[in-house]
């Protein structure tokens, strides 16, 4: 739903608890996607123990956080994965998890289908193996499709197919829609961010201005396609897209990483946006007391965007997209629909792009190939 402006102002000053809490369960991953926003690959030896994970769920339940978005890495790699999600569901905390699908064999699909309050997002990055595997690695598209087949055959119900919009995948919107319809699944499209290893492929893969305009037109006619409020920077093109249309970082969303560090949002795993650790007095303490979160809840400075008539629609865009492309927080979004971001980037005499702080990549991520 599109929130009215007074409600949006209220959200920008922060809530008693997040609406949407993302928890990356592990940095371990059996894939090595080129655009991985958490630079995942190898497990971190300091990752939360099972007891800590269950304790965190109890606190989340006490704070009345309605559901958790779980990701990674590949969350199903954790040997206590089912224990963790079953504990959450027993505590009335809904779980939505993102997976590459490689661990959803027929038995796992049946076990998942037997649970309530569970939602699954299977990731692909193209509507065919050639396009998707170029990002995610050889054979991964077929594996994801097998996971979808298994979920369908186990009568899981409506799952989600999740796609990051790249310069290649954005040309396949209608094919994604057909694929989702074929499974009775929901389609979820999200924005490519220059976060994690995404910074290495951003220049080559982020959509062009024209592609973003076409995406906006496609989405505005399809309110049932989910976006996780990903494309609010495109709302400057006209009517607002579905969602809150604001940057929720530290206000209505945040991220807990596999070692218990709390960051402002899933796309800023970097020391600059580290709010604290759940190991230091619990999650609630970080949410309410973090200096970083308090400052994010102050009224924003529109900066260079203040003189643009569309600031109220796009709010200057995505903090992570600016930060990792070397822009200032007061600069326009690098994908500003009026091209102001490209101008700002071109004006930087020296562009210094921050690198993600924790990097758990294995040594050889997928070599990016383009058709």
């Amino acid at each position: 739903m599109a929130a009215n402006s007074s409600l949006r102002d209220r959200f920008e000053r922060g809530l008693a608890a997040p609406i949407c809490l993302t928890w990356e369960l592990t940095y371990a991953c059996n894939l090595a996607c080129t655009h991985c926003l958490s630079s995942s690959g190898r497990r971190d030896p300091r990752e939360l123990t099972t007891a800590e994970a269950l304790g965190l769920i109890d606190e989340i339940s006490a704070m009345q956080i309605f559901y958790i978005n779980m990701g990674g890495g590949e969350p199903m790699i954790r040997s206590d994965f089912f224990h963790i999600i079953e504990h959450a569901v027993e505590r009335h905390v809904g779980v939505k998890f993102s997976t590459n699908g490689t661990r959803i064999d027929p038995a796992a699909a049946r076990r998942l289908a037997s649970m309530d309050y569970l939602d699954i997002q299977v990731s692909i990055d193209g509507a065919d193996a050639t396009t998707s595997d170029a990002i995610r690695g050889s054979g991964t598209y077929d594996q994801a499709r097998r996971a979808m087949d298994n979920l369908r055959d186990a009568n899981f119900g409506q799952f989600k197919i999740s796609v990051v919009m790249t310069r290649e995948s954005i040309e396949q919107l209608d094919e994604f829609e057909k694929l989702a319809q074929g499974y009775g699944a929901e389609l979820r499209l999200t924005r490519l961010r220059p976060s994690g290893r995404g910074v290495d492929v951003w220049d080559q893969l982020h959509p062009t201005l024209q592609q973003n305009r076409d995406l906006y037109k496609w989405l505005i006619n399809r309110p049932n396609v989910l976006t996780g409020d990903s494309f609010f920077h495109l709302s400057a093109l006209g009517d607002p897209l579905e969602g809150l249309n604001l940057c929720g970082a530290g206000r209505v969303v945040c991220l807990i990483d596999p070692v218990g560090n709390v960051y402002a949002c899933p796309f800023v795993i970097h020391d600059e946006f580290l709010a604290g650790s759940i190991r230091d007095g619990g999650f609630g303490k970080v949410w309410t007391e973090s200096e970083l979160f308090r400052s994010l809840r102050e009224p924003g400075n529109p900066g260079a965007c203040g003189s643009c008539g569309s600031y109220d629609a796009c709010r200057g865009g995505c903090m992570a997209a600016k930060f990792f492309t070397g822009l200032e927080m007061t600069d326009p979004d690098p994908e500003c629909v009026f091209g102001h971001g490209e101008t700002a980037l071109a004006a930087k005499r020296v562009s210094i792009r921050p690198t993600p702080s924790p990097d758990h990549s294995r040594r050889t991520p997928v070599a990016l190939t383009t058709r």
């Binding site: 929130a3 409600l7 008693a16 609406i19 309605f66 009335h92």
Partner: protein, 90 residues
């Protein structure tokens, strides 16, 4: 899904599939089955919704929580919450 018609004279309740969390502006409601988030934009509306099951009709719950001049708008708000499946019959 078949939508239920709101009758202000009938008995209603907060859906057992919905969790409500108080916020300064009112409350957030989350429906665990439809996975929809709904904003309740006043504290009084939250009070009415939580009190529904104690009354023989929605009208009674409104009367005991809302000033006379505002009662019609609360009946409309409840009707919207029935459509969103936050409030259901009992």
């Amino acid at each position: 899904m078949e939508s239920t018609t709101f009758d202000v004279a009938a008995p209603w309740q907060l859906s057992p599939d919905v969790s409500i969390r108080d916020e300064i502006f009112g409350a957030l409601a989350y429906h665990h089955i439809t996975r929809r988030l709904v904003f309740l934009k006043s504290r009084t509306l939250v009070d009415v919704v939580r009190d529904l099951h104690n009354h023989a009709s929605a009208q009674d719950a409104i009367t005991s929580n809302v000033a006379e001049a505002e009662r019609d708008s609360y009946a409309r708000a409840l009707s919207a919450l029935v459509n969103a499946e936050v409030v259901c019959g009992r």
